[in-house]
Amino acid sequence: MLRVEKLNYEVKGRKLLKDISLQVRKGEIVVLLGSNGAGKSTLMRLLSGDRRPNSGIISLNGQSLMKLDPRALAKCRALLTQQQQVSLSFKVSEIVLMGRYPHFTSAPQMEDVAIVDEVMALCGITQFSDRIYMSLSGGEQQRVQLARVLVQVWDNPDSLLLLDEPISALDMHYQQKVLAIAKGLSRKGYMVVLIVHDLNFAANYADRIVMLKHGRKLFDGTPNEVLNTKNIYTVFSVEAQVDMNPKTLRPCIKLEEMLLEEWSTPHII
Protein backbone atom coordinates (compact mmCIF):
# COMPACT_ATOMS: atom_id res chain seq x y z
CA MET A 1 0.00 0.00 0.00
CA LEU A 2 1.11 3.54 -0.78
CA ARG A 3 0.37 6.00 1.99
CA VAL A 4 0.91 9.74 1.66
CA GLU A 5 0.39 12.05 4.61
CA LYS A 6 0.40 15.83 4.76
CA LEU A 7 2.77 16.29 1.89
CA ASN A 8 4.20 19.74 1.25
CA TYR A 9 6.65 20.58 -1.49
CA GLU A 10 8.08 23.89 -2.60
CA VAL A 11 10.73 25.02 -5.05
CA LYS A 12 12.34 28.44 -4.63
CA GLY A 13 9.53 29.63 -2.37
CA ARG A 14 6.79 28.51 -4.77
CA LYS A 15 4.49 26.05 -3.04
CA LEU A 16 3.83 23.34 -5.64
CA LEU A 17 2.02 20.87 -3.40
CA LYS A 18 0.06 21.75 -0.28
CA ASP A 19 -0.99 19.38 2.46
CA ILE A 20 -1.71 16.36 0.27
CA SER A 21 -2.79 13.10 1.85
CA LEU A 22 -3.89 10.06 -0.10
CA GLN A 23 -3.70 6.29 -0.22
CA VAL A 24 -3.39 3.77 -3.00
CA ARG A 25 -4.32 0.26 -1.98
CA LYS A 26 -2.96 -2.91 -3.49
CA GLY A 27 -4.82 -3.74 -6.70
CA GLU A 28 -6.21 -0.24 -7.10
CA ILE A 29 -5.96 2.07 -10.09
CA VAL A 30 -6.07 5.77 -9.23
CA VAL A 31 -6.32 8.53 -11.81
CA LEU A 32 -4.99 12.02 -11.07
CA LEU A 33 -6.96 14.79 -12.75
CA GLY A 34 -6.26 18.49 -12.85
CA SER A 35 -5.49 21.38 -15.16
CA ASN A 36 -2.00 22.11 -16.51
CA GLY A 37 0.33 23.11 -13.69
CA ALA A 38 -1.96 21.73 -10.97
CA GLY A 39 0.92 19.65 -9.57
CA LYS A 40 0.08 16.20 -10.97
CA SER A 41 3.53 15.46 -12.42
CA THR A 42 5.23 16.95 -9.37
CA LEU A 43 3.19 14.66 -7.16
CA MET A 44 4.23 11.70 -9.34
CA ARG A 45 7.91 12.58 -8.93
CA LEU A 46 7.51 12.75 -5.17
CA LEU A 47 5.66 9.42 -5.13
CA SER A 48 8.55 7.91 -7.08
CA GLY A 49 11.06 9.07 -4.49
CA ASP A 50 12.99 11.09 -7.07
CA ARG A 51 12.24 14.31 -5.17
CA ARG A 52 11.98 14.71 -1.42
CA PRO A 53 9.02 16.54 0.08
CA ASN A 54 9.68 19.52 2.36
CA SER A 55 7.41 17.89 4.91
CA GLY A 56 5.12 14.91 5.09
CA ILE A 57 5.43 11.15 4.85
CA ILE A 58 5.40 8.81 1.87
CA SER A 59 5.50 5.14 2.68
CA LEU A 60 5.42 2.20 0.30
CA ASN A 61 4.36 -1.19 1.69
CA GLY A 62 5.07 0.06 5.20
CA GLN A 63 8.55 1.45 4.52
CA SER A 64 9.48 5.10 4.22
CA LEU A 65 10.40 5.87 0.62
CA MET A 66 13.45 7.88 1.73
CA LYS A 67 14.92 4.97 3.63
CA LEU A 68 14.80 2.47 0.77
CA ASP A 69 18.02 1.71 -1.09
CA PRO A 70 17.82 3.11 -4.68
CA ARG A 71 18.25 -0.30 -6.24
CA ALA A 72 15.70 -2.00 -3.99
CA LEU A 73 13.29 0.85 -4.75
CA ALA A 74 13.93 0.43 -8.49
CA LYS A 75 12.63 -3.13 -8.25
CA CYS A 76 9.27 -2.15 -6.71
CA ARG A 77 8.51 1.23 -8.26
CA ALA A 78 8.57 2.45 -11.84
CA LEU A 79 7.67 5.86 -13.26
CA LEU A 80 6.90 6.69 -16.87
CA THR A 81 7.65 10.38 -17.37
CA GLN A 82 6.51 12.72 -20.11
CA GLN A 83 10.10 13.44 -21.15
CA GLN A 84 11.06 10.64 -23.53
CA GLN A 85 14.17 11.89 -25.32
CA VAL A 86 17.04 9.45 -25.69
CA SER A 87 20.54 10.68 -26.49
CA LEU A 88 22.88 8.52 -28.60
CA SER A 89 21.70 5.92 -31.09
CA PHE A 90 20.35 3.12 -28.90
CA LYS A 91 18.23 0.34 -30.37
CA VAL A 92 14.67 -0.26 -29.18
CA SER A 93 15.54 -3.63 -27.63
CA GLU A 94 18.47 -2.06 -25.76
CA ILE A 95 16.22 0.68 -24.35
CA VAL A 96 13.62 -1.84 -23.14
CA LEU A 97 16.32 -4.04 -21.59
CA MET A 98 17.50 -1.05 -19.51
CA GLY A 99 14.31 -1.51 -17.51
CA ARG A 100 15.78 -4.81 -16.28
CA TYR A 101 19.13 -3.26 -15.24
CA PRO A 102 18.24 -3.21 -11.52
CA HIS A 103 17.72 -6.99 -11.71
CA PHE A 104 21.06 -8.20 -13.10
CA THR A 105 24.71 -7.26 -12.65
CA SER A 106 26.58 -7.81 -15.91
CA ALA A 107 24.64 -9.98 -18.36
CA PRO A 108 20.84 -10.33 -18.54
CA GLN A 109 19.44 -13.64 -17.27
CA MET A 110 17.06 -15.89 -19.22
CA GLU A 111 14.20 -14.47 -17.16
CA ASP A 112 15.09 -10.88 -18.05
CA VAL A 113 15.16 -11.68 -21.77
CA ALA A 114 11.84 -13.55 -21.52
CA ILE A 115 10.17 -10.61 -19.75
CA VAL A 116 11.51 -8.14 -22.33
CA ASP A 117 10.15 -10.27 -25.19
CA GLU A 118 6.76 -10.71 -23.53
CA VAL A 119 6.28 -7.01 -22.75
CA MET A 120 7.52 -5.87 -26.17
CA ALA A 121 4.92 -8.11 -27.80
CA LEU A 122 2.23 -6.76 -25.47
CA CYS A 123 3.10 -3.15 -26.36
CA GLY A 124 3.20 -3.97 -30.07
CA ILE A 125 6.83 -3.00 -30.59
CA THR A 126 8.42 -6.38 -31.37
CA GLN A 127 8.77 -5.43 -35.04
CA PHE A 128 10.80 -2.33 -34.07
CA SER A 129 13.22 -4.33 -31.92
CA ASP A 130 16.32 -3.58 -34.03
CA ARG A 131 15.35 -0.05 -35.06
CA ILE A 132 17.14 2.99 -33.62
CA TYR A 133 14.84 4.54 -31.02
CA MET A 134 15.24 8.07 -32.38
CA SER A 135 13.95 6.99 -35.80
CA LEU A 136 10.52 5.97 -34.41
CA SER A 137 7.42 8.16 -34.43
CA GLY A 138 6.29 9.88 -31.23
CA GLY A 139 3.60 7.30 -30.47
CA GLU A 140 5.96 4.39 -31.09
CA GLN A 141 8.58 5.98 -28.82
CA GLN A 142 5.95 6.32 -26.11
CA ARG A 143 5.15 2.60 -26.34
CA VAL A 144 8.86 1.74 -26.12
CA GLN A 145 9.22 3.82 -22.96
CA LEU A 146 6.10 2.21 -21.52
CA ALA A 147 7.55 -1.23 -22.24
CA ARG A 148 10.80 -0.25 -20.49
CA VAL A 149 8.88 0.92 -17.43
CA LEU A 150 6.70 -2.21 -17.36
CA VAL A 151 9.60 -4.69 -17.55
CA GLN A 152 11.18 -2.94 -14.57
CA VAL A 153 8.49 -4.23 -12.20
CA TRP A 154 6.94 -7.02 -14.32
CA ASP A 155 7.81 -9.83 -11.89
CA ASN A 156 6.73 -8.03 -8.71
CA PRO A 157 2.95 -7.48 -8.35
CA ASP A 158 3.48 -5.62 -5.06
CA SER A 159 4.97 -2.75 -7.03
CA LEU A 160 3.90 0.81 -7.51
CA LEU A 161 3.42 1.76 -11.15
CA LEU A 162 3.31 5.49 -11.89
CA LEU A 163 2.27 6.49 -15.41
CA ASP A 164 2.40 10.18 -16.26
CA GLU A 165 0.32 10.72 -19.41
CA PRO A 166 1.14 7.34 -20.97
CA ILE A 167 -1.29 7.78 -23.86
CA SER A 168 -0.74 11.41 -24.89
CA ALA A 169 0.82 10.51 -28.26
CA LEU A 170 -1.03 7.27 -28.99
CA ASP A 171 -3.72 6.41 -31.53
CA MET A 172 -7.20 5.32 -30.39
CA HIS A 173 -6.36 1.62 -30.43
CA TYR A 174 -3.26 1.92 -28.28
CA GLN A 175 -4.84 4.49 -25.95
CA GLN A 176 -7.41 1.86 -25.03
CA LYS A 177 -4.88 -0.94 -25.01
CA VAL A 178 -2.45 0.85 -22.68
CA LEU A 179 -5.24 1.72 -20.26
CA ALA A 180 -6.41 -1.89 -20.41
CA ILE A 181 -2.87 -3.04 -19.58
CA ALA A 182 -2.75 -0.61 -16.64
CA LYS A 183 -6.09 -1.86 -15.37
CA GLY A 184 -5.11 -5.49 -15.93
CA LEU A 185 -1.93 -4.99 -13.92
CA SER A 186 -3.88 -3.41 -11.08
CA ARG A 187 -6.04 -6.55 -11.01
CA LYS A 188 -2.87 -8.60 -10.56
CA GLY A 189 -2.08 -6.57 -7.44
CA TYR A 190 -0.12 -3.57 -8.69
CA MET A 191 -0.83 -0.13 -7.28
CA VAL A 192 -1.31 2.01 -10.37
CA VAL A 193 -1.36 5.80 -10.43
CA LEU A 194 -2.21 7.31 -13.76
CA ILE A 195 -2.43 10.81 -15.23
CA VAL A 196 -4.77 11.23 -18.21
CA HIS A 197 -6.60 14.26 -19.50
CA ASP A 198 -9.62 12.56 -21.03
CA LEU A 199 -12.41 12.52 -18.44
CA ASN A 200 -14.22 9.58 -20.06
CA PHE A 201 -11.08 7.44 -19.96
CA ALA A 202 -10.75 8.39 -16.29
CA ALA A 203 -14.40 7.51 -15.69
CA ASN A 204 -14.10 4.13 -17.42
CA TYR A 205 -10.78 2.85 -16.09
CA ALA A 206 -10.29 4.40 -12.64
CA ASP A 207 -11.18 2.75 -9.37
CA ARG A 208 -10.69 6.10 -7.74
CA ILE A 209 -10.14 9.64 -9.00
CA VAL A 210 -8.10 12.32 -7.24
CA MET A 211 -8.68 15.88 -8.48
CA LEU A 212 -5.96 18.49 -7.90
CA LYS A 213 -6.05 22.25 -8.26
CA HIS A 214 -3.25 24.72 -7.48
CA GLY A 215 -1.31 22.01 -5.64
CA ARG A 216 -4.19 21.01 -3.37
CA LYS A 217 -6.30 17.90 -3.39
CA LEU A 218 -9.90 19.01 -3.89
CA PHE A 219 -11.81 15.79 -4.48
CA ASP A 220 -11.06 12.12 -3.94
CA GLY A 221 -13.51 9.31 -4.62
CA THR A 222 -14.96 6.84 -7.10
CA PRO A 223 -15.74 8.18 -10.58
CA ASN A 224 -19.45 8.30 -9.68
CA GLU A 225 -18.75 10.28 -6.53
CA VAL A 226 -16.46 12.95 -7.92
CA LEU A 227 -17.16 13.33 -11.64
CA ASN A 228 -20.08 15.77 -11.66
CA THR A 229 -20.77 19.07 -13.38
CA LYS A 230 -19.89 21.14 -10.34
CA ASN A 231 -16.55 19.47 -9.58
CA ILE A 232 -15.49 19.50 -13.22
CA TYR A 233 -16.24 23.22 -13.38
CA THR A 234 -14.33 23.86 -10.15
CA VAL A 235 -11.22 22.07 -11.38
CA PHE A 236 -11.15 22.76 -15.11
CA SER A 237 -13.48 25.79 -15.56
CA VAL A 238 -15.42 24.02 -18.31
CA GLU A 239 -19.10 23.34 -18.64
CA ALA A 240 -19.81 19.62 -18.82
CA GLN A 241 -22.93 17.54 -18.98
CA VAL A 242 -22.57 14.38 -16.94
CA ASP A 243 -24.84 11.39 -17.63
CA MET A 244 -24.72 7.81 -16.50
CA ASN A 245 -23.64 5.24 -19.07
CA PRO A 246 -26.38 2.61 -18.72
CA LYS A 247 -24.03 -0.19 -19.79
CA THR A 248 -21.15 0.48 -17.40
CA LEU A 249 -23.03 2.47 -14.74
CA ARG A 250 -20.14 4.92 -14.83
CA PRO A 251 -20.31 8.65 -15.58
CA CYS A 252 -20.29 9.76 -19.21
CA ILE A 253 -19.09 13.28 -19.81
CA LYS A 254 -20.09 15.51 -22.68
CA LEU A 255 -18.37 18.87 -22.96
CA GLU A 256 -20.31 21.83 -24.25
CA GLU A 257 -19.00 24.18 -26.87
CA MET A 258 -16.87 26.90 -25.38
CA LEU A 259 -17.36 30.45 -26.58
CA LEU A 260 -14.72 33.09 -26.06
CA GLU A 261 -16.46 35.87 -24.15
CA GLU A 262 -14.08 38.58 -25.22
CA TRP A 263 -14.81 37.80 -28.87
CA SER A 264 -18.59 37.39 -28.52
CA THR A 265 -19.56 41.07 -28.94
CA PRO A 266 -19.37 42.10 -32.58
CA HIS A 267 -16.89 44.84 -33.26
CA ILE A 268 -18.05 47.86 -35.14
CA ILE A 269 -15.36 49.24 -37.34
Partner: protein
Protein backbone atom coordinates in the same frame (compact mmCIF):
# COMPACT_ATOMS: atom_id res chain seq x y z
CA UNK B 1 27.43 -8.11 -25.50
CA UNK B 2 26.24 -9.15 -28.94
CA UNK B 3 28.27 -11.48 -31.16
CA UNK B 4 28.78 -8.70 -33.68
CA UNK B 5 30.23 -6.43 -31.00
CA UNK B 6 32.58 -9.19 -29.81
CA UNK B 7 33.80 -9.69 -33.36
CA UNK B 8 34.43 -5.96 -33.76
CA UNK B 9 36.48 -5.93 -30.54
CA UNK B 10 38.49 -8.94 -31.72
CA UNK B 11 39.06 -7.28 -35.10
CA UNK B 12 40.18 -4.03 -33.43
CA UNK B 13 42.59 -5.93 -31.19
CA UNK B 14 44.21 -7.68 -34.16
CA UNK B 15 44.50 -4.32 -35.95
CA UNK B 16 46.17 -2.81 -32.90
CA UNK B 17 48.76 -5.61 -32.78
CA UNK B 18 49.51 -5.24 -36.50
CA UNK B 19 49.75 -1.45 -36.32
CA UNK B 20 51.96 -1.78 -33.24
CA UNK B 21 54.34 -4.14 -35.09
CA UNK B 22 54.52 -1.81 -38.09
CA UNK B 23 55.11 1.13 -35.78
CA UNK B 24 58.03 -0.68 -34.10
CA UNK B 25 59.61 -1.24 -37.50
CA UNK B 26 59.09 2.03 -39.34
CA UNK B 27 61.00 5.25 -38.81
CA UNK B 28 64.36 6.87 -39.51
CA UNK B 29 65.95 3.44 -39.02
CA UNK B 30 63.96 0.57 -40.58
CA UNK B 31 63.70 -2.73 -38.74
CA UNK B 32 62.11 -5.64 -40.68
CA UNK B 33 59.19 -7.38 -38.92
CA UNK B 34 61.17 -10.67 -38.85
CA UNK B 35 63.95 -9.00 -36.91
CA UNK B 36 61.49 -7.50 -34.44
CA UNK B 37 60.22 -11.00 -33.60
CA UNK B 38 63.78 -12.27 -33.35
CA UNK B 39 64.79 -9.47 -31.00
CA UNK B 40 61.64 -9.85 -28.90
CA UNK B 41 62.08 -13.61 -28.54
CA UNK B 42 65.72 -13.12 -27.74
CA UNK B 43 64.84 -10.65 -24.97
CA UNK B 44 62.68 -13.32 -23.33
CA UNK B 45 65.52 -15.83 -23.25
CA UNK B 46 68.22 -15.00 -20.75
CA UNK B 47 71.84 -15.38 -21.86
CA UNK B 48 74.22 -13.12 -23.69
CA UNK B 49 74.41 -12.73 -27.42
CA UNK B 50 76.05 -10.51 -29.99
CA UNK B 51 72.63 -9.04 -30.73
CA UNK B 52 72.55 -7.18 -27.42
CA UNK B 53 74.51 -4.16 -28.43
CA UNK B 54 73.53 -3.95 -32.07
CA UNK B 55 72.04 -0.72 -33.39
CA UNK B 56 68.84 -2.59 -34.20
CA UNK B 57 68.52 -3.74 -30.63
CA UNK B 58 69.05 -0.25 -29.24
CA UNK B 59 66.64 1.45 -31.63
CA UNK B 60 63.97 -1.12 -30.87
CA UNK B 61 64.23 -1.23 -27.09
CA UNK B 62 65.46 2.26 -26.23
CA UNK B 63 63.69 4.42 -28.80
CA UNK B 64 60.78 2.65 -30.46
CA UNK B 65 59.26 0.44 -27.84
CA UNK B 66 58.65 3.08 -25.15
CA UNK B 67 57.26 5.36 -27.81
CA UNK B 68 54.82 2.76 -29.17
CA UNK B 69 53.75 1.80 -25.65
CA UNK B 70 53.19 5.45 -24.76
CA UNK B 71 51.12 5.92 -27.90
CA UNK B 72 48.98 2.92 -26.98
CA UNK B 73 48.48 4.16 -23.41
CA UNK B 74 47.67 7.74 -24.39
CA UNK B 75 45.36 6.65 -27.21
CA UNK B 76 43.52 4.26 -24.90
CA UNK B 77 43.11 7.00 -22.29
CA UNK B 78 41.77 9.52 -24.80
CA UNK B 79 39.43 7.02 -26.46
CA UNK B 80 37.78 5.65 -23.33
CA UNK B 81 37.54 9.04 -21.61
CA UNK B 82 35.89 10.52 -24.69
CA UNK B 83 33.34 7.70 -24.76
CA UNK B 84 32.54 7.95 -21.04
CA UNK B 85 32.31 11.75 -21.01
CA UNK B 86 30.00 11.70 -24.03
CA UNK B 87 27.89 9.26 -22.03
CA UNK B 88 27.46 11.43 -18.95
CA UNK B 89 26.96 14.60 -20.97
CA UNK B 90 24.37 12.80 -23.12
CA UNK B 91 26.04 14.41 -26.09
CA UNK B 92 28.02 12.71 -28.87
CA UNK B 93 30.00 15.91 -29.41
CA UNK B 94 31.42 16.11 -25.88
CA UNK B 95 35.12 15.63 -25.36
CA UNK B 96 37.44 15.58 -22.33
CA UNK B 97 38.64 19.00 -23.52
CA UNK B 98 35.15 20.37 -23.15
CA UNK B 99 35.17 20.45 -19.36
CA UNK B 100 38.54 22.14 -19.21
CA UNK B 101 40.74 19.14 -18.38
CA UNK B 102 43.11 19.53 -21.34
CA UNK B 103 43.31 23.32 -21.26
CA UNK B 104 43.97 23.34 -17.51
CA UNK B 105 46.73 20.80 -17.96
CA UNK B 106 48.28 22.77 -20.81
CA UNK B 107 48.10 26.07 -18.90
CA UNK B 108 50.00 24.63 -15.96
CA UNK B 109 52.53 22.93 -18.23
CA UNK B 110 53.16 26.20 -20.06
CA UNK B 111 53.53 27.99 -16.72
CA UNK B 112 56.16 25.44 -15.73
CA UNK B 113 58.01 25.85 -19.04
CA UNK B 114 57.92 29.65 -18.87
CA UNK B 115 58.94 30.04 -15.24
CA UNK B 116 61.10 26.96 -14.79
CA UNK B 117 64.37 28.89 -14.88
CA UNK B 118 63.16 31.69 -12.58
CA UNK B 119 60.94 30.12 -9.95
CA UNK B 120 61.44 26.40 -9.87
CA UNK B 121 65.20 26.04 -10.33
CA UNK B 122 65.75 23.88 -7.28
CA UNK B 123 62.56 21.89 -7.86
CA UNK B 124 63.52 21.45 -11.48
CA UNK B 125 66.90 20.01 -10.50
CA UNK B 126 65.31 17.46 -8.21
CA UNK B 127 62.35 16.47 -10.36
CA UNK B 128 63.68 16.98 -13.88
CA UNK B 129 61.13 16.00 -16.49
CA UNK B 130 58.67 15.01 -13.79
CA UNK B 131 58.14 18.68 -12.92
CA UNK B 132 56.36 19.27 -16.23
CA UNK B 133 54.36 16.06 -15.87
CA UNK B 134 53.22 16.90 -12.35
CA UNK B 135 52.44 20.48 -13.37
CA UNK B 136 50.14 19.31 -16.15
CA UNK B 137 48.59 16.75 -13.87
CA UNK B 138 47.86 19.31 -11.16
CA UNK B 139 46.42 21.67 -13.76
CA UNK B 140 44.05 19.00 -15.05
CA UNK B 141 42.92 18.10 -11.55
CA UNK B 142 42.40 21.69 -10.41
CA UNK B 143 40.34 22.72 -13.43
CA UNK B 144 38.19 19.60 -13.24
CA UNK B 145 37.63 20.22 -9.54
CA UNK B 146 36.78 23.88 -10.14
CA UNK B 147 34.33 23.09 -12.94
CA UNK B 148 32.76 20.35 -10.83
CA UNK B 149 32.35 22.64 -7.81
CA UNK B 150 30.79 25.41 -9.90
CA UNK B 151 28.29 22.92 -11.34
CA UNK B 152 26.99 21.82 -7.92
CA UNK B 153 23.43 22.88 -7.18
CA UNK B 154 21.95 21.68 -3.88
CA UNK B 155 24.85 19.25 -3.71
CA UNK B 156 24.13 17.73 -7.12
CA UNK B 157 26.25 18.35 -10.21
CA UNK B 158 24.26 19.97 -13.04
CA UNK B 159 25.51 18.77 -16.40
CA UNK B 160 24.59 21.92 -18.38
CA UNK B 161 26.27 24.20 -15.83
CA UNK B 162 29.33 21.97 -15.94
CA UNK B 163 29.49 22.31 -19.71
CA UNK B 164 29.15 26.10 -19.59
CA UNK B 165 31.71 26.40 -16.78
CA UNK B 166 34.05 24.19 -18.81
CA UNK B 167 33.75 26.47 -21.82
CA UNK B 168 34.44 29.50 -19.62
CA UNK B 169 37.48 27.86 -18.01
CA UNK B 170 38.72 26.83 -21.45
CA UNK B 171 38.54 30.45 -22.56
CA UNK B 172 40.35 31.68 -19.48
CA UNK B 173 43.07 29.03 -19.66
CA UNK B 174 43.51 29.71 -23.37
CA UNK B 175 43.93 33.43 -22.73
CA UNK B 176 46.45 32.88 -19.93
CA UNK B 177 48.38 30.39 -22.05
CA UNK B 178 48.45 32.96 -24.85
CA UNK B 179 49.72 35.57 -22.42
CA UNK B 180 52.55 33.24 -21.37
CA UNK B 181 53.83 33.05 -24.93
CA UNK B 182 54.67 36.76 -24.65
CA UNK B 183 56.93 36.34 -21.64
CA UNK B 184 58.55 33.16 -22.95
CA UNK B 185 61.96 33.20 -24.59
CA UNK B 186 62.55 31.95 -28.14
CA UNK B 187 63.64 28.52 -26.91
CA UNK B 188 60.73 28.22 -24.45
CA UNK B 189 58.34 29.25 -27.21
CA UNK B 190 59.48 26.35 -29.35
CA UNK B 191 58.95 23.95 -26.46
CA UNK B 192 55.51 25.41 -25.77
CA UNK B 193 54.41 25.22 -29.41
CA UNK B 194 55.66 21.70 -29.84
CA UNK B 195 53.94 20.69 -26.66
CA UNK B 196 50.61 22.37 -27.48
CA UNK B 197 50.48 20.44 -30.76
CA UNK B 198 51.22 17.15 -29.07
CA UNK B 199 54.09 14.72 -29.51
CA UNK B 200 55.16 11.29 -28.39
CA UNK B 201 58.78 12.30 -29.00
CA UNK B 202 59.55 12.56 -25.31
CA UNK B 203 58.84 8.88 -24.68
CA UNK B 204 61.35 7.09 -22.48
CA UNK B 205 60.99 4.03 -20.30
CA UNK B 206 60.83 6.43 -17.33
CA UNK B 207 57.92 8.42 -18.71
CA UNK B 208 56.12 5.23 -19.75
CA UNK B 209 56.46 3.70 -16.30
CA UNK B 210 55.51 7.01 -14.65
CA UNK B 211 52.15 7.28 -16.42
CA UNK B 212 51.23 3.60 -16.73
CA UNK B 213 49.37 3.35 -13.41
CA UNK B 214 47.64 6.70 -13.91
CA UNK B 215 46.30 5.51 -17.24
CA UNK B 216 45.73 1.78 -16.82
CA UNK B 217 43.77 2.02 -13.56
CA UNK B 218 41.29 4.69 -14.74
CA UNK B 219 40.86 2.96 -18.11
CA UNK B 220 40.08 -0.32 -16.38
CA UNK B 221 37.82 1.47 -13.89
CA UNK B 222 35.79 3.05 -16.70
CA UNK B 223 34.80 -0.42 -17.96
CA UNK B 224 32.56 -0.83 -14.91
CA UNK B 225 30.38 2.11 -15.90
CA UNK B 226 28.82 0.62 -19.05
CA UNK B 227 25.39 -0.01 -17.55
CA UNK B 228 25.07 3.26 -15.62
CA UNK B 229 26.21 5.25 -18.65
CA UNK B 230 23.58 3.52 -20.80
CA UNK B 231 20.83 4.68 -18.46
CA UNK B 232 22.13 8.26 -18.69
CA UNK B 233 20.89 8.20 -22.29
CA UNK B 234 17.33 8.06 -20.90
CA UNK B 235 17.93 11.20 -18.88
CA UNK B 236 19.40 11.53 -15.41
CA UNK B 237 16.02 11.21 -13.75
CA UNK B 238 15.31 7.82 -15.34
CA UNK B 239 18.85 6.71 -14.49
CA UNK B 240 18.10 7.58 -10.86
CA UNK B 241 14.76 5.77 -11.03
CA UNK B 242 16.55 2.66 -12.32
CA UNK B 243 18.55 2.64 -9.11
CA UNK B 244 21.79 4.12 -10.48
CA UNK B 245 23.39 6.63 -8.15
CA UNK B 246 23.90 9.24 -10.85
CA UNK B 247 25.79 11.72 -8.65
CA UNK B 248 28.36 9.08 -7.79
CA UNK B 249 28.60 7.95 -11.40
CA UNK B 250 29.30 11.51 -12.54
CA UNK B 251 31.91 12.05 -9.83
CA UNK B 252 33.67 8.77 -10.65
CA UNK B 253 33.64 9.18 -14.40
CA UNK B 254 34.99 12.73 -14.15
CA UNK B 255 37.68 11.70 -11.66
CA UNK B 256 38.81 8.74 -13.78
CA UNK B 257 38.66 10.85 -16.95
CA UNK B 258 40.74 13.59 -15.34
CA UNK B 259 43.35 11.09 -14.18
CA UNK B 260 43.66 9.42 -17.56
CA UNK B 261 43.53 12.57 -19.70
CA UNK B 262 45.66 14.59 -17.27
CA UNK B 263 48.32 11.88 -17.34
CA UNK B 264 48.30 11.67 -21.12
CA UNK B 265 48.43 15.45 -21.63
CA UNK B 266 51.29 15.51 -19.15
CA UNK B 267 53.47 13.17 -21.24
CA UNK B 268 52.36 13.90 -24.78
CA UNK B 269 50.83 17.38 -24.87
CA UNK B 270 47.42 18.13 -26.33
CA UNK B 271 46.22 15.62 -28.90
CA UNK B 272 42.83 16.54 -30.23
CA UNK B 273 40.08 14.66 -32.05
CA UNK B 274 40.85 11.16 -30.75
CA UNK B 275 38.45 11.50 -27.81
CA UNK B 276 35.76 12.88 -30.08
CA UNK B 277 36.06 10.73 -33.17
CA UNK B 278 36.96 7.29 -31.89
CA UNK B 279 33.81 6.71 -29.78
CA UNK B 280 31.69 8.08 -32.60
CA UNK B 281 33.17 5.64 -35.13
CA UNK B 282 32.86 2.78 -32.65
CA UNK B 283 29.14 3.54 -32.23
CA UNK B 284 28.62 3.62 -35.98
CA UNK B 285 30.24 0.19 -36.27
CA UNK B 286 28.55 -1.71 -33.47
CA UNK B 287 25.86 0.38 -31.75
CA UNK B 288 25.63 2.62 -28.71
CA UNK B 289 25.69 0.07 -25.84
CA UNK B 290 28.42 1.48 -23.57
CA UNK B 291 29.47 -1.97 -22.34
CA UNK B 292 30.82 -2.41 -25.87
CA UNK B 293 31.63 1.23 -26.68
CA UNK B 294 33.99 1.72 -23.72
CA UNK B 295 36.12 -1.33 -24.50
CA UNK B 296 36.13 -0.79 -28.27
CA UNK B 297 36.99 2.92 -27.88
CA UNK B 298 39.97 2.02 -25.71
CA UNK B 299 41.41 -0.35 -28.31
CA UNK B 300 40.58 1.84 -31.28
CA UNK B 301 41.97 4.96 -29.55
CA UNK B 302 45.24 3.11 -29.01
CA UNK B 303 45.30 1.98 -32.65
CA UNK B 304 44.53 5.40 -34.08
CA UNK B 305 47.19 7.13 -32.01
CA UNK B 306 49.83 4.52 -32.83
CA UNK B 307 49.01 4.92 -36.51
CA UNK B 308 49.11 8.73 -36.25
CA UNK B 309 52.51 8.44 -34.59
CA UNK B 310 53.87 6.29 -37.44
CA UNK B 311 52.66 8.91 -39.90
CA UNK B 312 54.13 11.77 -37.87
CA UNK B 313 57.53 10.04 -37.97
CA UNK B 314 57.51 8.95 -41.61
CA UNK B 315 55.54 11.47 -43.69
CA UNK B 316 58.21 14.17 -43.65
CA UNK B 317 61.17 12.08 -42.42
CA UNK B 318 63.67 12.91 -41.04
CA UNK B 319 61.59 15.83 -39.71
CA UNK B 320 58.96 14.80 -37.18
CA UNK B 321 55.50 16.33 -37.46
CA UNK B 322 53.51 17.07 -34.29
CA UNK B 323 51.06 14.22 -33.71
CA UNK B 324 48.23 16.64 -32.85
CA UNK B 325 48.55 18.01 -36.37
CA UNK B 326 48.23 14.52 -37.82
CA UNK B 327 45.15 13.59 -35.75
CA UNK B 328 43.47 16.88 -36.69
CA UNK B 329 44.40 16.54 -40.38
CA UNK B 330 43.10 12.97 -40.50
CA UNK B 331 40.27 13.52 -38.07
CA UNK B 332 38.62 16.58 -39.56
CA UNK B 333 37.78 15.06 -42.98
CA UNK B 334 36.52 11.86 -41.36
CA UNK B 335 34.44 13.83 -38.90
CA UNK B 336 32.97 16.10 -41.58
CA UNK B 337 32.21 13.05 -43.70
CA UNK B 338 30.31 11.48 -40.80
CA UNK B 339 28.45 14.73 -40.14
CA UNK B 340 27.43 15.12 -43.79
CA UNK B 341 26.36 11.52 -44.33
CA UNK B 342 24.39 11.41 -41.06
CA UNK B 343 22.58 14.67 -41.73
Amino acid sequence: MQVKQRIIILFLTITLILVGMVSLGLGAYYIPVGDIWLLLLHKLEPGSSILDNSLENNVLFVVRMPRVLLGILVGAALGVSGAAIQGIFRNPLADPGLIGISSGASLFAVLVIAFESILFTSLSQIMGHYLLISGAFIGAGLTALLVYRISLKDGRPQITTMLLAGIAINGLAGALTGLMTYVATEQQLRTITFWMLGSLGGATWESVSAVTPFILLPVYGMFFFGKPLNTFALGEMQADLLGMRTDRVKLWVITLGTLAVGASVAVSGIIGFVGLLVPHTVRLMGGADNRYVLIASTIMGATVLTLADVLSRTLAAPIELPIGVITALLGTPVFLYILITEK
